[in-house]
């Protein structure tokens, strides 16, 4: 299963990168979503997979009786998902603000701070 996930992560990363390279900021955001999900899956896969046994200690025992899923990557991914939400929402706010100020989502047209005129020193 890890092998399949590795391939899937690669595909998600590739599509995410492809989307981010387009000039449209909304597509850029979608690419970012793909990348952050791919990163979570990668952490999940490299922590090794265990089918259907959540990391819970049964009532009355001091430690899990049978092999359970690795809890540490899960804890990392859990916070990563919430942080990712914050990051994406902030990016979305940036995109909305950009559109409001500049009237476009085309990143190639956003040259306010670094204008293309390269000829003379200001």
């Amino acid at each position: 299963m890890e092998t399949a996930l590795a391939v899937l992560v690669g595909i998600m990363v590739a599509t995410g990168v492809y989307l981010m390279l387009t000039a449209n900021l909304l597509r850029y955001l979608f690419g970012l979503i793909l990348l952050s999900n791919a990163a979570n899956l990668a952490i999940f896969a490299t922590g090794r997979l265990t089918r259907a046994v959540p990391p819970l200690v049964p009532e009355g025992l001091q430690a899990p009786a049978e092999p359970v899923a690795n809890a540490l990557p899960q804890a990392m991914i859990l916070t990563a998902i919430v942080i990712g939400f914050g990051l994406l929402a902030f990016t979305l706010a940036l995109v909305v603000r950009c559109y409001r100020e500049l009237g476009t989502l085309d990143a190639n047209a956003m040259r306010l701070s670094e204008p293309p005129a390269a000829d003379e020193e200001h």
């Binding site: 959540p54 819970l56 859990l78 919430v82 939400f85 914050g86 929402a89 902030f90 706010a93 909305v96």
Partner: protein, 138 residues
Amino acid sequence: MKSIVLQGTTRLLVPLLLLFSVYMLLRGHNLPGGGFIAGLIAAAAFILCALAWDIRTARAALRISPARLAAGGALLAALSGVPGALWGNPPFTGLWLFIGGGAGDKGLPLSTVLLFDVGIYLAVLGAVLTLFFALEED
């Protein structure tokens, strides 16, 4: 999106969602759940409210500003780390108090860890709603 059906359903769902979020929060230490999940569920309740009526209703239902809620939650989480540090342990060491324990049953567990999880709950709820309201009011 002013649909009577949605509003009626929401009226029912919101209290249920909030109750469910508290349930998820409290059981989180032993079963799937916890502050993050519970906070997101509670946020969903208010967002549903905003969808069925409008942002102002959702804000009114929340009573205090979401940013303050988030800051308060973060403060609570930070403060819960202090008692552990007072007796020479690293900060955020959990302190536990079991009330009314008997044989085979530890009783009602109260702990700084629970306080921390409540802080997370409030912070996530507040932060998500801050984001949501900001984007929707635009």
